[in-house]
Amino acid sequence: MIRVDIRAKHFGPTQVLGTVRFDIAPGETVALVGPSGIGKSTVLRIVAGIDNRFEGNVTRPDAMAIVFQEPTLLPWRSARDNLLLTQPGLSRDGAERALTRVGLEGRGDAFPGHLSLGQQRRLSLARAFAGSPELLIMDEPFVSLDPDMADQMIGLSEALIAEHRPATLFVTHARSEADRLADRVLELSGTPASLTN
């Protein structure tokens, strides 16, 4: 069980988050929605352990994965190494299987910069699921995609989540994406931001 209990988060003298308290059960997908700039990504960074300067507590597993808005790959390492370096327990065969699963079979030796943007995003998903994470965090991963590619990526994410069943926290400002992917939708609003449902 992932337990998030944020009491406050400040940037300098400004309090940006108030009480934000929720749990995510194993296999459950929770979407966090709200207008741009409300603090969704701040919540996500706290849950991921990237930002530890807040008042409160987060219980999270060791096996985590994250998908950012941008692919955020290691461009100087091959597609295969991008999986192997972030998932040390993964075998070479396991990496090939993970690449094949997202439609990148035979591209293990390619550097990310030699892949199309769509392929880079697929690689980012392959990396996230290769280690079978207990907690998956997604930060508006479809925000800058054209409708067709967004639809493809949402479909692929849906399928991978269904296969691996991680607890998933999914940040978006598009209600339609939240309704399609999530079991439960949480809304962030107010100043400082807190959960309204």
């Binding site: 985590m64 290691l74 100087w76 370096l85 965090i137």
Partner: protein
């Protein structure tokens, strides 16, 4: 002209370089002819005989080797220390606040002062010679690497943290590759400056190396031999540039999309 635009560009660049070097050689020949004094400025072909004499006697290779060894030691130590210092200063603003004034002082300290002080404090030995060069170069390397460390991508850092990459893996696969262009820039400017400082160090306080030989022939007013040793070492450093630095640079840049 046949071939791809890239091939034509390469041929054009090569031709320009060849013509430029030929022009310099022509300038030398004209200047030597106008001077009309081989003791002051000999013709280029007048260097062939003394060059072959020094080469066959083994003197040239011995002194080139001594200088090259000092350059390698000083370069390696300065790059290691400078990279570590620059990385820490770029990553930790508090450390930078403390060390930045030191960096400014050492950047503005003349190389000659550091060389003389090292010889006075440590003695006229190899350690002093190499440390004098290292202390001269560390601030430049640290300054370049600090800029690189400030430009590290925080998003990739966050990714590495979430995926629990070890400290060593982060350094090797996340930090160093991002710093590679800065390390290359520091290495190139470093190697160019270091060998010149090594020559001064040898000139002032060693009994071997190209700098020592230049000092010797300076006292004998033998311009031809000064030029033989200077050009020989320039050739060695060009070989280092073409055979080591440029292939390494191509290797670290191979991932970039064309």
């Amino acid at each position: 002209m046949q071939g791809t635009p890239e091939a034509r560009q390469t041929i054009s660049t090569g031709a320009t370089t060849g013509l430029s070097i030929a022009a310099l050689l022509l300038l030398w020949i004209v200047a030597a002819a106008l001077t009309d004094d081989a003791q002051v400025l000999p013709q280029p072909w007048a260097l062939i005989q003394p060059f072959l004499r020094e080469l066959t006697s083994g003197e040239l290779l011995y002194h080139l080797g001594a200088t090259l060894l000092r350059v390698i030691w000083a370069f390696s130590l300065a790059m290691l220390a400078g990279c570590a210092l620059g990385l820490v200063m770029g990553r930790y603003p508090r450390v930078n606040q403390w060390l930045d004034p030191w960096l400014v002082i050492f950047l503005n300290l003349p190389a000659l002062v550091l060389i003389v002080l090292c010889y006075l404090w440590i003695g006229l030995n190899e350690t002093a010679a190499i440390l004098a060069v290292v202390f001269n170069k560390i601030p430049n390397v640290a300054t370049v690497i600090r800029e690189g460390a400030r430009a590290l991508d925080p998003q990739i850092d966050a990714m590495a943290k979430v995926y629990r990459m070890s400290g060593w893996a982060r350094l090797r696969h996340v930090t160093v590759p991002q710093l590679a262009p800065f390390i290359t820039a520091a290495a190139r400017s470093g190697i160019a400056v270091i060998w010149k400082i090594v020559l001064v160090v040898e000139f002032l306080g060693r009994s071997s190396g190209v700098g020592f030989q230049i000092h010797l022939y300076f006292q004998l007013f033998d311009v031809a031999m000064v030029l033989v040793y200077a050009f020989s070492f320039i050739v060695v450093m060009l070989m280092v540039e073409w055979l080591v630095l440029q292939p390494w640079e191509r290797h670290v840049r191979r991932w970039r999309a064309e």
